[in-house]
């Protein structure tokens, strides 16, 4: 059981030293300066990886974001041990990131428009998708469905989490089944692919947004280099399959630099949302209307506020699992904190 000391904890996102070297142009950057420029190198535009919380802060209206289910806790169902036990890896990741697992979801607003958002955190075990990450993505989707507000998912993930075995694989289905419902209900879904989005994450919800946006130079791939060379002996060129590659191959709509991302998402929502809000409550049942332009127009004229205020302070959905799980939280992983009192 680690002892908590009252010193500043290690931060993975920005190591405790003051400087960071830009891998793009080798310029030395002040961490504080980097924070101000949203984690983008001011000299060459290299986009550093940022944590889920930072991502959400950058995208959402200040103070509008309310996190949900921050206390979902992964379980080592397989008793997985590689060079280190999974339980130990979890504790280490939790201590270094301050998160319980590699995703953060909640409700908030972007330029006054309520959205359901889920962001993945690469610093937590490579952003890998285990049961908790899948659950959070699914809950974000269900909140979007329930409140009829747009869904935004920011991916930063190496893929499915091997330590949870086939349960991780099933998260592809879990997330896709909710995304399919979101689409059937004609609720906009914007997928933002940041560096890196690979493996099972790319092969599920990240690839199928109504609009797919990628950050410049983000690595986006299904199979990693090691898998390629190990399985079929095919060596792929360095820098293969970056964001630009996917635009030219037709799987990503737009590349948007981080500074413009919020504005761009907001613009897209202004096209997509009024239609979603104009759809009646029974959304999926209504047939396709060729006069959608008019319904959108009426929606814009009459239903200005109709779909908009359900967001931030809605009733919490996290009540369902709380009671039953309290007693049975697995000791090894949850007790990493200081004893109190």
């Amino acid at each position: 059981m680690p002892v908590r000391l009252p010193f500043r904890p290690r931060r993975d996102a920005y190591p405790p030293d003051l400087w960071k070297k830009c891998p793009g142009c080798a310029e030395m950057l002040f961490n504080k300066q980097l924070d101000k420029s949203l984690g983008v190198c001011p000299h060459c535009g290299h986009h550093f990886r940022i944590s889920a919380k930072t991502r959400i802060e950058q995208l959402m209206d200040p103070g509008s974001f309310v996190e949900r289910d921050a206390d979902l806790q992964p379980v080592d169902a397989l008793g997985f041990v590689d060079s280190k036990p999974y339980a130990d890896r979890l504790v280490a990741a939790q201590l270094s990131t301050g998160l319980r697992d590699a995703a953060v979801w909640g409700l908030g607003e972007i330029e006054g428009r309520p959205v359901s958002i889920c962001a993945m955190d690469f610093w937590f075990m490579g952003g890998s998708m285990g049961s908790v990450v899948g659950e959070k993505v699914a809950r974000a989707g269900e909140a979007a469905l329930e409140n009829r507000i747009p869904l935004i998912i920011v991916s930063a993930s190496g893929g499915a989490r091997m330590q949870e075995g086939t349960y991780s694989l099933m998260q592809l289905v879990k997330t896709m089944s909710v995304v399919e419902r979101v689409k059937a209900a004609r609720i906009p879904y914007i997928s933002i692919l940041s560096d890196p989005t690979t493996g099972g994450t790319f092969a599920s919800f990240a690839a199928v947004g109504d609009v797919n946006i990628a950050e410049p130079n983000a690595l986006i791939r299904f199979a990693g280099d090691r898998v390629s060379s190990g399985t079929i002996g095919e060596e792929l060129p360095a820098g293969y399959a970056r964001a630009e590659f996917w635009v030219s191959h037709g799987f990503v709509d737009r590349i948007v630099p981080r500074a413009k991302l919020r504005e761009e998402v907001s613009t897209l929502l202004s096209f997509l949302v009024s239609q979603a809000a104009a759809a009646p409550e029974s959304g999926p049942q209504t047939g396709f209307s060729p006069r959608s332009f008019f319904s959108a127009l009426t929606g814009a004229l009459t239903g200005e506020g109709s779909g908009s205020v359900t967001g931030a302070a809605g009733p919490s959905t996290d009540g369902n699992g709380t009671g039953e799980a309290r007693g049975e939280a697995p000791g090894s992983a949850t007790r990493g904190e200081a004893p109190r009192g």
Partner: protein
């Protein structure tokens, strides 16, 4: 911890009856070249089978076969992976590694099955999708995601049979269904044992240990609830008696379809949704995770006096949104 240490000692390789050796023998069995694949199984199972080709977008993938069959008098749409049984056939079948067009062909046939009221039967035996540039640039990830998505909402019963290797997203793309059956010697995993070992142990030599750690065998997957039923294989394994294997699969599939075809479509889809929505254990921790952002003096002091929330109130806090450690 003691258990874990003991467990680790037991999984040392090269001991004849160690779990590692047993699991690895199982993996080898699942990969046996002579194991019957989709076409061999259909020869026995189906009264009639018409193979259909092409995804109507790019081409035809020989690593995935699709078509229409009559099995015990029932019309069924078939989608399955096809490995070769010798080198020559394997070259023709791309060693059973599918490209996006294979999955898109499968989707086309499944949509057709939905329109014409046929249940879908899939045979899963694949190490993973083709991991090279050709598959990547034609959107293997999108094809897998779309296929998974389609199968979650397809308005017709789907029965999945894992006959050999169920490897990662490449297998999952055709393995979403109302019930998942698996042959006794098959395996199912989130990534191939070799892939897992390369990434986690940084060496492919540990793949045997990876196979143990990921609990790949059909029986273990049954215990985890991923697989509904394990179909026993005859004698020394499916490859020793493909015809009997096919008959056993046919009987198990027929029994399942008997039940599934009686359910209403809404019932069926709701059950399928619930099944996949509930996969993956998690708990709810008692408190929010420890804050990782830089703590102010007040927070550090609060760490010293966990019970007294009055101290930070006097000093103010740099944190916002997070409840203090002494609070509930």
């Amino acid at each position: 911890m003691v258990d874990r240490l003991l467990g680790r000692m037991h999984t040392e390789p090269n001991q004849p009856e160690s779990p590692t050796a047993v699991a690895w023998a199982h993996v080898q069995q699942a990969r046996n070249l002579k194991r019957p694949h989709t076409l061999e199984l259909l020869k026995v199972m189906a009264d009639e089978f018409v193979e259909l080709h092409g995804d109507r977008l790019f081409g035809d993938d020989s690593a995935i076969v699709a078509g229409l069959a009559k099995i015990s008098g029932r019309r069924i749409a078939i989608v399955g992976f096809q490995k070769g049984q010798d080198t020559e056939e394997n070259i023709r079948r791309n060693f059973g590694l599918p490209h996006p067009e294979g999955y898109r062909k499968a989707m086309r046939i499944m949509e057709m099955a939905e329109r014409f009221g046929m249940p879908v039967l899939t045979f899963v035996d694949v190490q993973g999708a083709f991991p090279g540039a050709a598959a990547e640039e034609r959107g293997i990830a999108e094809a897998i995601a779309s296929s998974v998505g389609l199968m979650t909402r397809l308005r017709t019963p789907i029965v999945v049979v894992i006959t050999g290797e169920g490897g990662s997203g490449g297998a999952l793309a055709l393995a979403v269904g109302d019930c998942v059956l698996a042959l006794e010697n098959s395996i199912y995993s989130v990534i191939s044992p070799e892939g897992c070992a390369t990434i986690l142990w940084r060496s492919a030599e540990q793949s045997q240990q990876a196979a143990v750690a990921m609990k790949v065998t059909a029986a273990e997957q049954r215990e985890l609830g991923i697989v509904d039923e394990v179909i026993p294989e005859p004698g020394g394994g499916a490859h020793t008696d493909p015809a009997e294997t096919a008959r056993r699969i046919r009987d198990a599939v027929n029994a399942r379809l008997e039940v599934l075809t009686k359910m209403s479509m809404d019932e069926l889809l709701e059950a399928r949704f619930k099944r996949y929505r509930s996969y993956g254990p998690y708990t709810v921790a008692e408190k929010a995770a420890p804050p990782a952002e830089r703590q102010g003096l007040a927070d550090r002091l609060r760490g010293f006096f966990p019970g007294r929330s009055s101290v930070p109130q006097l000093l103010g806090s740099r944190r916002n949104g997070q409840p203090g450690r002494g609070e509930e």
